[in-house]
């Protein structure tokens, strides 16, 4: 998911859970059945999970364009100044992203 998709999905999740909680409580109270409240709420949680948790493509409509590897090689990576003993153990990952 992209950043905007994540924000959207978080809002959807919070709103859906609250709405299902209210529906479940009202249904349980009116029917006089605690079991009905739990069933409706559990169904709501499952439905919300189905919509918001997996990586659906519709939440990835504004993907970030990572820089091409061939383009990255044209620009040298900055060298991190470390002592010679540590150099063997350290890996530096610098990733450049195009706007």
């Amino acid at each position: 998911m992209d950043w905007q998709g994540q924000k959207l999905v978080e809002q959807i999740m919070q709103i859906m859970l609250l709405v299902f909680a209210v529906i479940a409580f009202v249904a349980g109270y009116v029917l006089g059945s605690f079991r009905m409240m739990m069933i409706v709420y559990a169904g709501g949680v499952a439905l919300t999970a189905l919509i918001t948790v997996p990586n659906w493509p519709l939440f990835n409509r504004h993907p970030l364009n990572w820089l091409d590897p061939s383009e990255a090689e044209k620009h040298p990576k900055p060298q991190v100044a470390v002592s010679s003993k540590k150099e063997r153990h350290q890996k530096v990952n610098v990733v450049l992203a195009a706007e």
Partner: protein, 167 residues
């Protein structure tokens, strides 16, 4: 919300928190219930009334207990625990409460009942003070909820007394 696991964790935590709030509100809704229970206990017979050797008084009685406790049930009630206790005072103890019989009522339909029974638990005094003693019979109930606060209350029925002599 960066990955599948992250979102799943967030959703589960939020949903359980909301569930806790729903249960608290359900418990608070019990206060809206207006209760009108009624009960009656008749002592049909004093089966025997003895003094235990070198020790305390003991009595066995048969009661006819009838009650209508249907108004105590709400949507959030799991069961009703009721018990009958005899209350009296003696020179030794200012208040004695002896539990004679109890039952669990699991559903509203069973809450209107009558039962003809002898005392389930032995009625033994701490001492030898029961002859001619006046006592009350109280029906206590505990409304046990599915979630939240338990309510307890009672009805006091007066006017019972023991015989003057052992039999």
């Amino acid at each position: 919300m960066h990955s599948f696991g992250y979102r799943l964790n967030g959703l589960l935590t939020f949903s359980v928190t909301i569930l806790a709030i729903m249960c608290a509100i359900a418990s608070l809704s019990d206060n809206l219930n207006s209760r009108s229970p009624s009960a009656e206990i008749q002592v049909m017979n004093i089966n025997w009334f003895q003094k235990q050797p070198q020790a305390n008084d003991e009595v066995s009685l048969t009661m006819n207990i009838s009650a209508d406790l249907q108004s105590l049930f709400t949507w959030n009630t799991k069961q009703l625990f009721i018990f009958v206790a005899a209350e009296y005072d003696t020179p030794k103890n200012s208040l004695n409460q002896v539990s004679l019989w109890d039952a669990i009522i699991p559903a509203k339909v069973h809450a209107k009942f009558w039962i003809h029974t002898s005392n389930k638990y032995r009625f033994v005094d701490q001492g030898k003070y029961l002859r001619g003693k006046k006592f009350n019979l109280t029906l206590h109930w505990h409304v046990m909820p599915k979630t939240g606060k338990m309510f307890a209350d009672k009805i006091v029925l007066t006017g019972y007394s023991f015989p003057e002599e052992y039999r």
